[in-house]
Subunit: 125 residues, 2 copies
DNA sequence: GTCGCGAATTACCTATAGGAAAGCGCTTAC
DNA sequence: GTAAGCGCTTTCCTATAGGTAATTCGCGAC
């Protein structure tokens, strides 16, 4: 990401604007799993049980409801292949690619943050 | 790591890696308010009641506990100016600036998303 | 005919987030 | 001496997210 983020943070009049944007974004992506699920499927389209295995800790109930929500909101598509034992794959829509930048930042930051936590743990022992 | 040149699963270990990163990031920034609060203070350091007014919908109880949490996790500093009516300002730490990129993406995406929602609403009427 | 799989659904339960409203200790202002 | 503002804290309450475990339904395999 070659984005020069100097002075990117808003001046006064944009304040309320970006505050609202951030709140809206978080509202749309609420819950523990949505972003992770989208990431998972962007990596490659998958079936229900595959996702269940790849996302550590999610239950089938929660997965099902999250998938439904994501489908309604047009982040993913549920594609039924009418093969012999019909298999169903979930794939990201074009729209969910608009989240790539955000997911990238989340991932980068998450990694650095974990690193930082590890450091401060070491210091305490 | 040894290479298992089986299927064409695109960088499988990066997958799990960024998945974990994303989950960790969300864990650290959990709740409805943290990111918005950090943004608010990055815009400019502020006092309790100022923040209360600027963040629409937050209550003083929740604000207090979020500020505490953010302070413990070193995103902000609580600075007491021993002026006559001692005033207390909350300001972001250096560390919270590491969130600039993420916040920028959140804000951008949130704005576009709201735009999209508006469009799809129009279509339905 | 029953076993297991894939894709859920259902019922049940609980922890936690977080909202509303009031209060409290302090201080300066009227 | 009372009012008002600031920075919270306390109490009370509720909705929802989300966890566990069992069940369902269609299907093909054995």
């Amino acid at each position: 990401m070659e984005k020069e983020a100097e002075e990117v943070i808003p001046n006064k009049q944009d304040c309320a604007g970006s505050l609202r944007n951030v709140l809206d974004a978080q509202y749309a992506l609420n819950g523990k799993w949505k972003v992770a699920l989208i990431l998972c499927m962007i990596q490659s389209p998958k079936r229900f049980n595959e996702i269940l295995q790849e996302i550590p800790g999610i239950s089938s109930k929660v997965l099902a409801s999250e998938l439904k929500h994501l489908e309604i909101n047009e982040f993913i598509k549920r594609v039924v292949h009418p093969t012999a034992p019909a298999n169903i794959i979930y794939e990201p829509t074009e729209y969910s690619r608009s989240l790539k930048g955000l997911i990238g930042e989340l991932s980068d930051w998450g990694e650095k943050h974990r690193e930082k936590i590890k450091q401060s743990m070491k210091q305490n022992f």
